[in-house]
Structure formats: structure tokens, C-alpha cells
């Protein structure tokens, strides 16, 4: 498999990411490099499976986060509950689910937040059959098709 060149200095895709994958819009690959990058962020989330840890985190979030050797960007994203940013920084949705579950939020609630929709818009999109695949397969094809009208459900 060919390797992705590091083209975007702010957020380079981790080495080893398949090129084809990086053409899929709005999707982050949780591969081994990103998993390594997000190890402590994800292990922090995992710690919230214990009720005592949840209570300690809720009492003082910033202090609790200091117990994990995460980067300042990762801690900041947790405190702001910036879910897309956490994913960019190596978070995985199943680990992040421990964090949003302890906030009392569902997968659907957080999915809506990540898409930038309101809860109502997102719920309605799902009831109408979900986000359409049309126009959502490929970044490059999306660009080339931008001038043409396309049928796609927006969240």
C-alpha cells in the first residue's frame, strides 16, 4: 500500500495512512500512528468507566487531566468538548464515548455535534434514511462535481 505524503503541516495525516482513505470526506482513520498519538487521551477516557474516577473528573476536570501525560492541545479539546478536534488528535469514538456518556450524552447527540447540525436536523436526517452516500464518497470527485447540481441530504 502506498503512503500518504505529509502535505498539511498543521495536521499531517499520520505516516502509513492509505492515500485512498484520505480522499474520503469528513472521516478520520484510527490507524496505529494515530492510536499512538492518542494513547493517553484515549486512556483518560477509559478511566471514566470507574464511578470514582468520573466523580473526581467532574469535581475538577483540569486537575484530573493533569494525571495523564496528554498534550496541552488534547487537554484543551477535552475541556472544550471539541469532539472533532479530539478525533484529529488521536481520539477514537469508542473511547470518547466514555467521556460523553459520563456527560450524559448519547452517540446520536455527539454525532449531531460533530456534523455541525442541530439535534433536530440530525435526528430528522436519520429518520429520512440517513446521510446519503451520493456526493459523500470522495473529496476529489466532490470538488470536480461542485459546479453541477447534486442530490444529497444535508445534515
Amino acid at each position: 500500500m502506498t503512503k500518504e505524503p505529509m502535505t498539511h503541516p498543521a495536521n499531517p495525516p499520520p505516516p502509513g495512512t492509505p492515500v485512498e482513505f484520505s480522499d474520503i470526506p469528513g472521516t478520520t482513520l484510527f490507524d496505529m500512528q494515530r492510536s499512538r498519538q492518542g494513547y493517553h487521551l484515549n486512556m483518560f477516557c477509559m478511566s471514566l468507566m470507574k464511578p470514582d474516577n468520573r466523580a473526581e473528573f467532574k469535581a475538577n476536570e483540569a486537575a484530573y487531566l493533569q494525571k495523564f501525560p496528554m498534550t496541552p492541545e488534547q487537554r484543551d479539546a477535552v475541556l472544550k468538548r471539541d469532539w472533532n478536534r479530539m478525533i484529529e488528535l488521536g481520539g477514537n469514538i469508542y473511547f470518547l464515548s466514555k467521556l460523553f456518556s459520563s456527560d450524559g450524552l448519547s452517540f446520536q447527540h455527539v454525532a449531531a455535534l460533530m456534523t455541525g447540525s442541530t439535534q433536530e436536523q440530525y435526528a430528522q436526517m436519520m429518520l429520512q434514511g440517513g446521510r446519503s452516500i451520493e456526493g459523500n464518497r470522495s473529496k476529489s470527485r466532490r470538488k470536480s462535481a461542485r459546479s453541477k447540481p447534486e442530490r444529497r441530504k444535508r445534515g
Binding site: F21, G26, F30, C45, M49, S101, Y122, M125, R131
Partner: protein, 300 residues
């Protein structure tokens, strides 16, 4: 001889477990989902498996990032439901089948599948939601369950072909176990869904329908679908569908579709479900075995 007689494939959406546990099954949103499983409950009550081999993925519950087994097999006597951040599901403790599980582990490793053996493990919604869908809310699960977690969370998961071949190795292992047991294999997860990022909510019903059709008639074609195609066409979490290929690999080449159900949405997910029986199986033989099984269960 033990024998795998059928497969049950279904999604394992956590919200379904929550709907059952919180008594929401009669809410209009959930009614079609549970109605869709009524024929399946009847089928499994008639089929009376002695053991279920349940292929699923752990969702950062039993396995963190500390240890990530590609294929693992639960060889313990019991598996408690996991606390996934909102307390354990109020479902019965899962009773394993250590003798058969150990036999399978030995057999598949010698068959060149380098399995991880797990003797202590909590089981999360990936395993308990399919049991709830098929059995409802019993005091005890009506048969033994051997958990078979697969890594599909961190790239790379096993390929579709590897999963299919692994299913065949499991079948060889089961068929070399001397006890007379009826085994049903569950392949769970999927179908199309994406839980992360700006593309969350993606559903591709065409992909799903095609997958279900080919699962019956041409599973080998499905084993050639690369990882990136699952993600592009059916969403980042649709890769769970490779686990359906383990269950399919454990069946005959020729199978009979017993039942199919498909519904959108269940939370963020296209819920898919299909029951397949080996084409050679006859009803009469099934019923006869059932009575013997019942006696054995009482004796335990």
C-alpha cells in the same frame, strides 16, 4: 459430534440495549425494530442451540489500547456485563463453555490462526445486544455463549478473506469436538453507519442490500472488498461487517435464507439482520435434537 447448524447476523447498536433496559420498546421509534425480531425469537426458540459462538467487537470495554487482539476467544466459565460508562446492562451473566472454547482455541491455532486466549473478560453491548434481540429479557440466557471478539476499532482490522477462512477453521474445530452439540454462530455489527466526524450519519442501503444478497449466494465476492471500500461506501464503522464473514465461513457453501430484516434508523445505524441455515438441515432432525437437548439442559 458438535455441529454448526446456522448463523445469525445482526447489528449490535447500544441504543437498542438501552431501549430494552429502560422499557422503551413500545415507543413508536422502537416498535418496528422489536417487531422485526419477533420471527427471529420464534426461530431460535425452536432451534434451541446448546451453544452460541458470538463474533463481535469490544468497544473499548474489556480491551483498552493496552492490548489489542485481532482475534480472541473467551475460554472462561462466565463473562459479566461490562460497565461502559453508564453502569453495566441489567442482563444475566453470560455462561461460557470452557471445554468447547479451549478445544476451539487449540484447534484453530494448530490450523494456523494465532488466536488470543482470554480467561477473564467483561462483555459489552457488542455481545449482549444481539442476545437481548434474540432472547428478550430472560432471567438466565437459555444457552452457553462463547465470546469471540475481533479488532475492528483500530486499523488494520483482519481482512474479509482472513475472517472467512477463520470461520472455516472454527467449523473444523467444532466438528472435531466429540460431544453432540448444536451450535449457532452469530456474526454481529454493521450495517452501514458512521459515528465520527462531519460525515457521521452516513447510510447506504444499496450497499447493505447487496451485501445481504451476496452473503447468501456469493460470500467469496464479499471477502474481496477492501477496507477502504467499506469505509467509503458504508461509513467508518461499517467495517464491522467483516465479522459477518466469520459466521458465513463457518456454514456450508449452500445456505438457506430463513429470515431477513432491515431497518433505518436505529440511532445512527442501518440495522441489518439475517438468519441462514445450512441447506442440508432438515426440520425434523432439528426438532428431534431439541428434545434431547432439553433433557440435557435439565440435567445440568
Amino acid at each position: 459430534m458438535a455441529k454448526i447448524i446456522a448463523s445469525v447476523n445482526c447489528s449490535h447498536v447500544p441504543a437498542i440495549g438501552a431501549a430494552i433496559d429502560l422499557g422503551k420498546t413500545q415507543q413508536p421509534y422502537w416498535v418496528p425494530v422489536f417487531r422485526g425480531f419477533e420471527p427471529s425469537k420464534k426461530w431460535i426458540a425452536e432451534t434451541r442451540p446448546d451453544v452460541i459462538i458470538l463474533v463481535y467487537n469490544d468497544h473499548a470495554s474489556a480491551f483498552s489500547l493496552e492490548i489489542i487482539p485481532t482475534f480472541a476467544l473467551g475460554c472462561a466459565a462466565e463473562f459479566p456485563p461490562a460497565d461502559e460508562g453508564w453502569g453495566p446492562r441489567p442482563v444475566p451473566v453470560v455462561k461460557g463453555y470452557p471445554e468447547l472454547a479451549c478445544h476451539i482455541a487449540q484447534s484453530v491455532i494448530l490450523d494456523e490462526f494465532d488466536l488470543t486466549i482470554v480467561n477473564k473478560m467483561d462483555v459489552d453491548h457488542g455481545l449482549t445486544v444481539p442476545l437481548s434481540l434474540m432472547f428478550g429479557q430472560p432471567k438466565e440466557w437459555p444457552c452457553r455463549v462463547i465470546p469471540l471478539p475481533v479488532n475492528v476499532v483500530q486499523y488494520p482490522p483482519p481482512t474479509g478473506n482472513r475472517c472467512f477462512q477463520f470461520g472455516k477453521a472454527i467449523r473444523r474445530a467444532v466438528e472435531s469436538f466429540p460431544e453432540d452439540l448444536r451450535v449457532v454462530i452469530f456474526g454481529t455489527g454493521g450495517m452501514s453507519h458512521q459515528l465520527q466526524g462531519p460525515r457521521a450519519g452516513l447510510i447506504n442501503s444499496k450497499f447493505d442490500a447487496n451485501f445481504l444478497d451476496r452473503l447468501i449466494r456469493d460470500p467469496v465476492a464479499l471477502t474481496r472488498i477492501p477496507f477502504v471500500e467499506y469505509v467509503r461506501e458504508a461509513g467508518s464503522e461499517a467495517i464491522e461487517l467483516v465479522m459477518w464473514l466469520i459466521a458465513r465461513g463457518a456454514l456450508d457453501d449452500d445456505v438457506r435464507e430463513v429470515y431477513r430484516f432491515y431497518h433505518v434508523p436505529a440511532s445512527n445505524t442501518a440495522l441489518g439482520h439475517i438468519i441462514l441455515e445450512n441447506a442440508g438441515k432438515t426440520r425434523a432432525a432439528g426438532k428431534k435434537k431439541s428434545r434431547a437437548t432439553r433433557k440435557r439442559r435439565v440435567a445440568r
